[in-house]
């Protein structure tokens, strides 16, 4: 039983990362109906920028985290403005292909700038555990869970309470009307990209201590994509919950069934859920009007 809880918690922490990647997908998809396959590479870039901030520039952990999020948000904003905006009006497919190109470009750029070798950085949570009764949880996992919850709360308040957040929702619900309300839709879309890149960077900073700062970090995008679909692609809570389901089930399958099948567990669950609810867990409330 104790082991089960322990494993669930580890899976839950990984699931939070998947959830954050899925969240980035959903934000951009809702704003511009583009699936941003560079989401995983933004996360990887975030980890490298974070390493630079901590180990090269000598920031403390918290200022470094803030610096990383802001720097990556700025990169995301500029990517939309300079790279994605010129193809507005082209078929959706072109935009999605462009994000795949962006993904490879970011990966190549990171290797050119930082080199391919792995590295790690020190955080206040590294190599520590907290005991809950007889359950020992490492602090890195706790930091992932806590960080995800804080990010979700901040985003929730931002979208509900701030005028810019409501304007982002408005622009995604009816672009024409948003224009007519003097909402600068193009800038708002770029800001959504910035937000999404910031979330990815935060996820990268949270994930890096439990793995390594490595160019292969982008692979979480595959699980994150699954999580976004599981949650209904278009629902923010759905994305986070989808990520958690995939993370926990993957971990439990790996431990109790077969370590070999850990990799496919996520997709088996995804297929099973989609067979029962083709709309995804939280989808379907809003259909696209044709």
């Amino acid at each position: 039983m104790l082991d089960f809880l322990q494993q669930s918690l580890n899976g839950f922490a990984t699931g939070c990362i998947y959830g954050l990647v899925a969240l980035g997908f959903v934000l951009i998809y809702k704003a511009s109906e583009i699936v941003n396959f560079a989401q995983g590479d933004m996360l990887m870039l975030g980890a490298f920028v974070g390493w630079t901030a901590l180990d090269v520039l000598g920031f403390g952990y918290w200022p470094g985290l803030l610096f990383t999020i802001l720097a990556c948000a700025a990169i995301g904003f500029l990517l939309d403005r300079q790279v994605m905006r010129p193809i507005i009006g082209q078929p959706q497919f072109a935009g999605i292909m462009l994000t795949i190109g962006l993904a490879f470009t970011i990966r190549g750029g990171v290797i050119m700038i930082w080199g391919p070798e792995e590295r790690s950085f020190h955080t206040p949570f590294s190599n520590k555990t907290t005991a809950f009764g007889s359950l020992a949880v490492d602090d890195v996992s706790l930091s992932i869970v806590a960080g995800t919850l804080v990010l979700c709360a901040v985003l929730f308040i931002f979208f509900r309470r701030s005028r810019l957040g409501v304007a982002m929702q408005a622009a995604s619900q009816n672009q024409l009307a948003a224009y007519l309300m003097a909402i600068p839709v193009k800038t708002v879309n770029s800001l959504v990209w910035g937000l999404s890149a910031g979330v990815a960077a935060a996820a990268g900073m949270l994930l890096a201590p439990s793995l390594l700062v490595d160019t292969n970090l982008w692979i979480v995008v595959l699980k994150g994509f699954g999580a976004a679909i599981l949650g209904g692609f278009g629902s923010i809570p759905g994305a986070v919950v989808g990520g958690m389901i995939i993370g926990v089930s993957e971990q439990l399958v790996g431990v109790y069934l077969d370590p070999e099948s850990k990799g496919i567990a996520a997709y088996v669950i995804l297929l099973a859920v989609l067979l029962v609810w083709p709309q995804g867990l939280f989808g379907g409330a809003e259909r696209k009007r044709v």
Partner: protein, 257 residues
Amino acid sequence: MSGPLLQVRNVESYYGPIMALRGVSLEVERAQIVAVLGANGAGKSTLLRTISGVMDPRVGTIAFDGQEIAGQDPDKVVRLGMSLVPEGRQVFPFLTVAENLDMGAFGRRDRTGVPEDLERVYRYFPRLAERTGQQAGLLSGGEQQMLAIGRAMMGRPKMLLLDEPSLGLSPLLVQEIFAIVAQINGDLGTTVLLVEQNARAALGFAHYGYIMELGRIALSGDCADLRDNPDVQEFYLGIKEGGIRGKRRWRRRKTWR
């Protein structure tokens, strides 16, 4: 500044290769209500979309309050004080009524006037005041139209462009909404340019009217004159002359061509 508030000169707009506006010119005087009438496909909505910047004209000039606005993005045009209430209402379906109205004031610099305007919108449309927390997508068609007009009012525009406000509404609601628009025009001096298929309702309350056919202005005049024009009566108001088998032919030719 004197002169007409809006001056459209020889505007041509295209949908791809298809010419939708074939050289339209019109003027809207300050504090007037001007109606543009016409059948389906006459180019009425295209005209409003072109004026508000949603579409760019290929030829022609559009001057608003002395400033050239042809080819500008719609969010810039709105900031100059011209709000379009688009066809089919286009509210934000998953935002509440209050949030929709707040978005209407998004481009405003003087935040201090916003509560006052919000109160005024609720006074004009008491039904919205009862539903502030409701999602706009769940409102009835008439309420959505009221919300769309109210939302445009929140920008405190000098000019309101209304695209088919009567679309899909009961005759009673059409009267109610037109009465409120006339009241807004009277109270605040807001200039109104209105596009309608419902000629009877529009000619009843506008000051000046233009009739469009196939992308051109076919006829214009004071609404009282237009109401008396036999061609307008026959083709837009459905008033028949003579008896059923009198001298009326099956289809009379329009005299303005």
